[in-house]
Amino acid sequence: MAGFRGLPLFAQIFGRKDGTGTEAMSPRTRQLSARTTGSQTTRSVCPYCAVGCGQLVHHRDGELVAIEGDPESPINQGTLCPKGAASLELLTHPARLTQVLYRAPHTRAWEVVSTSWAMDRIAQLVWESRARTFVKEVAGERVGHSSAVAHLGGATLDDEENYLLKKLFTAGLGLVSVSNQARI
């Protein structure tokens, strides 16, 4: 009988309703709640442009649920532009890379390699290229650099990351061909 009572028609007849209001709601509708409800929230900053809008990253059990503007941020006061609003898809879309891909010289296809192998190989390549091309001095002037191993990028990276990159590449390895979007 409970099922029958739950039927909107019943509610309609006995409640003199026209079937367009809450009486016609399904159990699911009655239980609706926002997808962010009950999730954990981490404060973040939009990864796209330099406006630096505050974001709230909602996640549950290690999975992202939603990313929205942080209403407390004095920069954006909860709002976001279309890019910021698409941040969830940015992190969750299926084209995200999840493995290290490697292409050997002259071959036609990617292969999946382990991260540690790739790191060892990259370290080796850096080491060799730098050794081959290191210039100690030019015309008696101290140079101490290699310009043949280059770096590009940084404006999407964190300050801490750029700091370590510059420290390793320039202060450690003596690489000078270092550039990022600020140049262009």
Partner: protein
């Protein structure tokens, strides 16, 4: 309320409108809109909507084209070619959305009760009920609701703006209004918005902007998503006098009943008269 009120603004603060059964709405103001489409994206992200095709329409910067089963917000780009060669061109943006009509054609038409009126006055399609009969589609005088074509989640059912009923139940502002960077979309109690819309109209008239009006057609008993229009509303694709389809019921049923009567009588007469 002004842009920059932040947490104090209706667009950001949590609310109890559902519990308190306050009728809420939108007021969308093209004179504040920057055509960024954040509202479209935020809506799609929140509702996990599929894309609507990657089609270049050449309709200014609008490649969404229309509201539909997978686009609940649609920013319209109205470009006016310069009338005088050196006058600045007009370029107006208006974020269109379901009107959540006071007398909603879709709601009245729905045979399953899938469409309901919520506590806050929104018109809500219950996806778990809708059987995809499509009657709401031809019953919306604004061309809003549509049946989603597969193969995508929610295919076969009719969809449109939910007024973020799920969010509102938890005291959250609709995703589109919350994200709008310039508060071109304002969310709040409908009565307040009506006043604000009128005040805005007056302000703009005072600033010398001609042809400003509030779009709130009485022919459907008023709408819950008010718009400001500049110049001819037709440029924004807003019907001048939308009709609630059920206003035609009287005439149509009268005709149906008379026809029925005619058929029954005629057939009786035919057999009776033709009898021996």
């Amino acid at each position: 309320m002004a842009i920059g009120d932040g947490l104090a603004s209706n667009n950001q603060r949590r609310h109890l409108y559902v519990e308190q059964q306050v009728t809420v709405g939108f007021f969308t103001d093209p004179t504040l809109c920057i055509g960024c489409k954040a509202c479209e994206v935020a809506c799609k992200e929140h509702n996990a909507l599929p894309h609507d095709g990657f089609v270049f329409t050449a309709m200014s910067y609008d490649n969404t084209g229309a509201l539909g089963a997978s686009s609940y917000r649609h920013v319209k780009f109205v470009e006016e070619t310069a009338l005088a060669p050196d006058a600045p061109p007009g370029f107006l943006f208006l974020s269109d959305v379901c009107k959540h009509c006071e007398r909603a054609g879709c709601l009245e038409a729905c045979p399953t009760g899938a469409i309901v009126r919520t506590e806050v006055g929104g018109v809500f399609v219950q996806d778990d009920i809708c059987n995809g009969c499509g009657y709401c589609v031809v019953s919306c005088p604004f061309g809003v609701i549509d049946r989603r074509q597969g193969p995508v989640p929610g295919a076969g059912g009719a969809h449109k703006c939910t007024f973020c009923y799920d969010r509102q139940k938890d005291g959250l502002v609709p995703a589109c209004a919350k994200t709008c960077p310039t508060e071109s979309i304002q969310f709040g109690p409908l009565s307040e918005l009506r006043e604000r819309a009128e005040a805005r109209r007056q302000t703009l008239l005072d600033r010398g902007i001609a042809g400003v009006s509030v779009y709130d057609p009485s022919s459907v008993g008023g709408i819950h998503a008010l718009f400001l229009t500049v110049g001819d509303g037709a440029r924004f694709g807003l019907p001048s006098s939308p009709e609630v389809p059920t206003t035609h019921l009287r005439a149509a049923w009268s005709s149906a009943l008379l026809t029925s009567l005619f058929a029954i009588v005629a057939s009786a007469l035919a057999f009776w008269g033709a009898g021996p």
